[in-house]
């Protein structure tokens, strides 16, 4: 068999091996760390989604209802006051519902502070009217409050606006906190990739030198390394995200196994609920592997080029 035929009969004889030996890359450590980062990022994103949805639900519930409080004054019968107030409210534009709550509703609210019903019976407990609001065309609350106090003695309007703004403020603080956590995770991920790139070049110093000597440019060498980082990033991104999704899924289905709780229901609706919610959730979760891959690719390339600039 001639020399040529020997080589032709072999499956190799063409360049097939990667120029940078993958086995010598510190990719396993990077992958483990990046997977954990992605998992944490998914938890942070999930938490952000849950908080945002919860705050939205709470504020829209609060915004959809106001309460009128009618205090007993002695000179006019409570029943008359309630009828007057209800009539005024019903005649006001932007009000969808007027429910005069019975006496026990007010007493129930005071019970935790004042004790049993016997004590409450002796006290002039105010009566409450729950008022549904058309959120698209709400009434002029200031004007309504004035009219109420003028028409019904001892009546006042509680719009819950203070609670609403408190909730919104708390919600947005938590959202910013979540964004901060995500930013820190991103920063750590970049630092990890930079460190791993440096290690990859250190481990393969001899390979890099030979590549330089045979005329490879820095960009060429960076390309050989960056694709391995890209693959590692994609794999860790997918595994981390999958683990995150499984966590929320398990949290979600735990409501049917154990007693129902708010977090479980919210987690369930995040992934398996209404399409308008789940699509947004999945899109956000999908960003994690995409961004992880990009971080690995770009950070590795920039770090490698920077290091190579100081090489031979």
């Amino acid at each position: 068999m001639s020399d040529k035929s020997k080589i032709k009969s072999s499956h190799k004889g063409v360049a097939t091996n990667s120029l940078m030996p993958r086995t010598q890359m510190p990719l396993r450590t990077l992958m483990i760390s990046m997977t954990v980062m992605c998992y944490l990022a998914c938890l942070a994103i999930g938490a952000l989604l849950l908080i945002t949805r919860a705050v939205d639900d709470w504020t829209s519930e609060i915004a959809g209802e106001v309460t009128v409080q009618v205090r007993p004054t002695g000179d006019v019968a409570m029943k008359d006051k309630l009828v007057k107030a209800a009539a005024l409210l019903k005649a006001t534009k932007g009000i969808t519902r007027v429910d005069v709550l019975d006496k026990s509703a007010g007493e129930k609210l005071l019970e935790p502070w004042l004790g049993n019903a016997e004590v409450l019976n002796q006290l002039p407990v105010p009566r409450l009217i729950a008022v549904g609001i058309d959120q698209v065309n709400p009434p002029d609350f200031e004007k309504l409050a004035k009219q109420l106090s003028l028409t019904v003695k001892g009546a006042s309007l509680d719009t819950h606006r203070r609670w609403q703004s408190e909730l919104t403020r708390m919600g947005s603080s938590l959202v910013w906190l979540g964004i901060g956590v995500l930013a820190l995770i991103t920063l750590s991920a970049v630092a990890l990739v930079v460190f791993a790139s440096r290690s990859a070049l250190d481990v393969n110093r001899e390979v890099v030198e030979v590549l330089h000597f045979v005329g490879a440019s820095d960009q060429y060498i960076a390309r050989q390394v960056q694709w391995q980082f890209l693959k590692a990033g994609l794999q860790s991104g997918l595994i981390g995200t999958l683990a995150g999704l499984v966590t929320f899924f398990l949290l979600g289905i735990s409501s049917s196994v154990t007693s129902s709780n708010g977090l479980a229901e919210a987690s369930y609706s995040l992934l398996i609920g209404a399409p308008e919610v789940t699509i947004a959730s999945y899109l956000l979760f999908l960003l994690v592997p995409i961004l992880t891959t990009l971080i690995c690719l770009i950070a590795a390339r920039l770090a490698i080029l920077r290091i190579l600039r100081n090489a031979i």
């Binding site: 020399d3 040529k4 080589i7 030198e209 590549l211 000597f213 045979v214 005329g215 820095d218 031979i312």
Partner: protein
């Protein structure tokens, strides 16, 4: 200032590593295009350092180096690969990549230059046959003997038919018969216009030199013959 007929020109070149003493002092050298020169001298005289300057692994700490008509001192980093592709180097320690097969090692400069395997396959196979490594094409360097590694390193250095070939002790690990064969390969390349510098202690090789031998002694370059 480079002479139009010279491929390499060194003027008052000095080189030191870090803050140590100068390992090359006031080296002046003109390598004519198509010449073949031997570089000799005792161990530690600076032969490898001079070669490192010539294959652009180092820049001089002083003096002027012009290669292929380009001033190396002012050459931007991105210009180095283009010049290095014109240079073939045989390292004393071979510098073969252990994770690549012998075929892949020899084809490396072509692969880096962007050629497709289908375009260079035949050339690499032919050269491997020439250096007697055909049967090792799919082997990895760790299983080769010193002499076989040497031949693979030489094949890698000459596969691109470089304009300048620098060889550091290229026959140090091969038997006399193969040494002669390799020298014939160098001479063939030289005939086709490749400028060759061979650093060696082998007096048998130097005996056949037609141009003055470059002799390095304690960092100073002189000529013999």
């Amino acid at each position: 200032m480079s002479n139009s007929g010279s491929i390499v020109s060194l003027q008052n070149v000095g080189l030191r590593y870090g803050k140590g003493r100068e390992v090359l002092c006031d080296v002046n050298l003109e390598l004519k295009r198509g010449s073949m020169q031997f570089l000799t001298g005792p161990s530690g005289a600076g032969k490898t350092s001079l070669l490192r300057l010539l294959f652009l692994a180092k820049r001089p700490t002083r003096g002027l180096i012009s290669m292929f008509g380009r001033d190396i001192a002012t050459l931007p980093r991105k210009g180095l690969p283009e010049l290095r592709q014109k240079i073939g180097v045989v390292f004393q320690d071979f510098r073969l990549l252990d994770h690549l097969t012998v075929f892949e090692n020899v084809a490396l400069p072509l692969r880096v230059a962007g050629q497709k395997p289908a375009d260079y396959r035949e050339n690499v196979i032919e050269l491997l046959g020439w250096v007697g490594l055909s049967e090792y094409a799919d082997s990895y360097p760790p299983v080769l003997s010193g002499g076989e590694k040497q031949r693979a390193a030489i094949a890698r250095a000459v596969i691109t038919q470089p304009e300048l070939l620098l060889a550091d002790e290229p026959t140090g690990n091969v038997d006399p018969a193969l040494a002669l064969r390799l020298m014939r390969l160098f001479k063939e390349l030289n005939k086709f216009g490749t400028t060759i510098v061979i650093a060696t202690h082998d007096t048998n090789l130097i005996k056949g030199a037609t141009s003055p031998v470059l002799v390095l002694n304690d960092g100073q370059l002189g000529f013999e013959g």
